[in-house]
C-alpha cells in the first residue's frame, strides 16, 4: 500500500480499522509504563511531590501545540493540494486538540496553586495557552456553523494557518505586556534542569500521549469519513424521493 492509496477514503478506512486495535493497545501499555515510572519518580527538592503533575501537564501542553501543527499541515493539504483526507484530518483534530489544551491549562492551574498560592496567574506562558484554547474553540465553532463540510473546510483552513502565523505574534505581545506590568509573585516553573529521574518518565508519558492523540485522531477521522458518507447518501436519498 503506497501513500497514494491512502488518498482513497475507503482504503483509509480499511487501514484504520486494521491499525486501530494495535495502536490502542500500544498506547495503553505505554501509558501504564509511564504512569508506573511517574509514580516511582522521586520528589523534587524544590517542588516536592507536585512535580508528579509535570508528567501529565507537559505532555498535554506539548500536544496542545503539536495538534495545531497537525491542523496547519492539514490546512495546507486542503488549500494547496485539495487532498480529500486533509479537511477530514483537520476537522477531527480540533476537538481533540481543544481537550488537550484544556487539560494543559487545568493541570497547570492545579500545579500552580501549591506553587504560587493561586490557581491562575496572568503569566505569559499560561496566558498564551489560554488564547490558544480560545482559538481552538473558535475553530470548532466555525466547523459547527456551516452544514456543508467542504465549504467549512476552506474557511477553517485559512483560520488555522492565520492562527499558526499569529500564535508567535500573540506570544510576543503577551510577553511584552507581561514584562511591562511585572507581576509580583511569579515563580517560574521548570527552572531547574531536569534530572534523569524525571526525564525518562516524562519522555515515556509524552510518547504515550502522542500515541493517544494518534489513536483518537485516526478514530475521529474514521467517524468523520462515515459522517460524510451518511451525508452523501442522504443527499442521494433526497434526490430519489418524489
Amino acid at each position: 500500500m503506497t501513500l497514494l492509496d491512502l488518498a482513497n477514503p475507503t482504503r483509509f478506512l480499511t487501514l484504520t480499522s486494521r491499525l486501530l486495535p494495535w495502536l490502542a493497545g500500544l498506547t495503553f501499555v505505554l501509558l501504564l509504563i509511564g504512569l508506573y515510572q511517574s509514580a516511582m519518580a522521586p520528589d523534587d527538592y524544590q517542588q516536592g511531590a507536585t512535580v508528579k503533575i509535570m508528567f501529565i501537564h507537559v505532555p498535554n501542553a506539548w500536544l496542545s501545540m503539536f495538534v495545531w501543527g497537525v491542523m496547519s499541515l492539514a490546512a495546507l493539504g486542503t488549500l494547496v493540494w485539495r487532498h480529500p483526507l486533509a479537511d477530514v484530518a483537520a476537522k477531527a483534530a480540533a476537538p481533540i486538540g481543544a481537550c488537550f489544551t484544556f487539560l494543559a491549562l487545568a493541570t497547570g492551574s492545579l500545579w500552580g496553586r501549591p506553587m504560587w498560592g493561586t490557581y491562575w496567574e496572568w503569566d505569559a506562558r499560561l496566558t498564551s495557552v489560554l488564547i490558544l484554547f480560545l482559538m481552538y474553540l473558535g475553530l470548532i465553532a466555525l466547523w459547527r456553523a456551516v452544514e456543508d463540510p467542504s465549504r467549512a473546510a476552506r474557511a477553517a483552513a485559512v483560520l488555522t494557518l492565520v492562527g499558526a502565523i499569529n500564535l508567535p505574534i500573540i506570544k510576543f505581545s503577551v510577553d511584552w505586556w507581561n514584562t511591562l506590568h511585572q507581576p509580583a509573585s511569579v515563580l517560574r516553573l521548570g527552572g531547574p534542569t531536569l534530572d534523569r529521574a524525571f526525564l525518562i518518565p516524562l519522555l515515556i508519558m509524552a510518547l504515550a500521549f502522542s500515541l493517544l492523540f494518534l489513536t483518537l485522531h485516526l478514530a475521529a477521522m474514521r467517524n468523520e469519513i462515515l459522517r460524510r458518507r451518511v451525508r452523501a447518501l442522504q443527499l442521494k436519498q433526497a434526490s430519489q424521493l418524489p
Partner: protein, 62 residues
C-alpha cells in the same frame, strides 16, 4: 502503596490525574458513541435501499 507518599499537596496531584483521566475517558466515549451512531445511520440507509455510486452497500468498508 507506601512508595506513593504524595506529601501535603496530594489533593492537587490526585485531582489533576483524575481530571486527565475523566477528560480522556469522555473523549474516548464520545468518539466511540459517534462511531456507533454513524454506523447505525449507514445501516438504516442501507435498509432503505440507498446504495453508493459504486453500487456497494453503505456499511461496507471495501
Amino acid at each position: 502503596m507506601t512508595a506513593l507518599s504524595l506529601g501535603p499537596y496530594a489533593p492537587f496531584i490526585v485531582s489533576s490525574y483524575l481530571l486527565v483521566t475523566v477528560v480522556v475517558a469522555i473523549l474516548i466515549a464520545w468518539i466511540t458513541i459517534d462511531y456507533r451512531r454513524q454506523k447505525q445511520r449507514l445501516r438504516e440507509l442501507d435498509a432503505a435501499g440507498v446504495v453508493r455510486r459504486s453500487g456497494r452497500s453503505a456499511t461496507e468498508f471495501k
